[in-house]
Symmetry: C2
Subunit: 149 residues, 2 copies
Amino acid sequence: MRSSGAQQAAEALTCGEAQRAGRGATCLATPEGAWKIASSLNYRHLDGTVVAVVQDAESGDVLMVAHMDFVAVILTLTTGMAHYYSTTRRRIWLKGETSGHYQIVEEFRSDCDGDAVLLRVRQTGPACHLGSRSCFSSPNSTVLRVTRR
Amino acid sequence: MRSSGAQQAAEALTCGEAQRAGRGATCLATPEGAWKIASSLNYRHLDGTVVAVVQDAESGDVLMVAHMDFVAVILTLTTGMAHYYSTTRRRIWLKGETSGHYQIVEEFRSDCDGDAVLLRVRQTGPACHLGSRSCFSSPNSTVLRVTRR
């Protein structure tokens, strides 16, 4: 971990707070369970993170890719709201903290070597900061498709 | 680029070879077009790579996460077969070169800030080296799911 978990946690929602705020989040793990899962991952990516792939739980569309450090994993699992680690701003963020476009986590999966996780979420509004539903359908995106006859 | 593109390209299939080998791949771009797209990406991840999320074109399941350097992007677009850069083996690989479990690319998308790409593929056999269809449903995977009443 690069920064103080206690300090970062203070900025984030607890599950009770998320539930009281009417965002419909449900915790995925107890703090103890979350700690165990977070400890099992391999934070080998930028700034000691795992890659997080975020998928729309309804449509199956891939919405975005982000990074999670140990604390972001703990906060995501214990609050049910997606938290990430920004490698540019070098801090934890609650997805939606500025935009209001929260991600309520329906499913969390780790991959075979523990350096990537998949979140299936209910996305409020657009996932992309450019206003697109998905970061892969943004105005900046290149899209190439094979058309078969 | 960390290594010689010409040397790496020699190990990979050309589109004509992939087509002759009966793998059903179709090029997504000309070499010139592929170069332009590869040049537009931001290789800010491990070892000068972008993150590649791989999604099953039929089921929509996320199969795996890998990395692509400049050359892997070029080879993927010009052959229609997924190529990655292994950050552990420090070389380009054609997915399936050892296992025979190739990925034929149906769609290529870049994200809003150009540091991640999404491949929608036709996957031959399991995507995971542990034999699972997806790396996120491997024997090593942790899966947590919110059950709503």
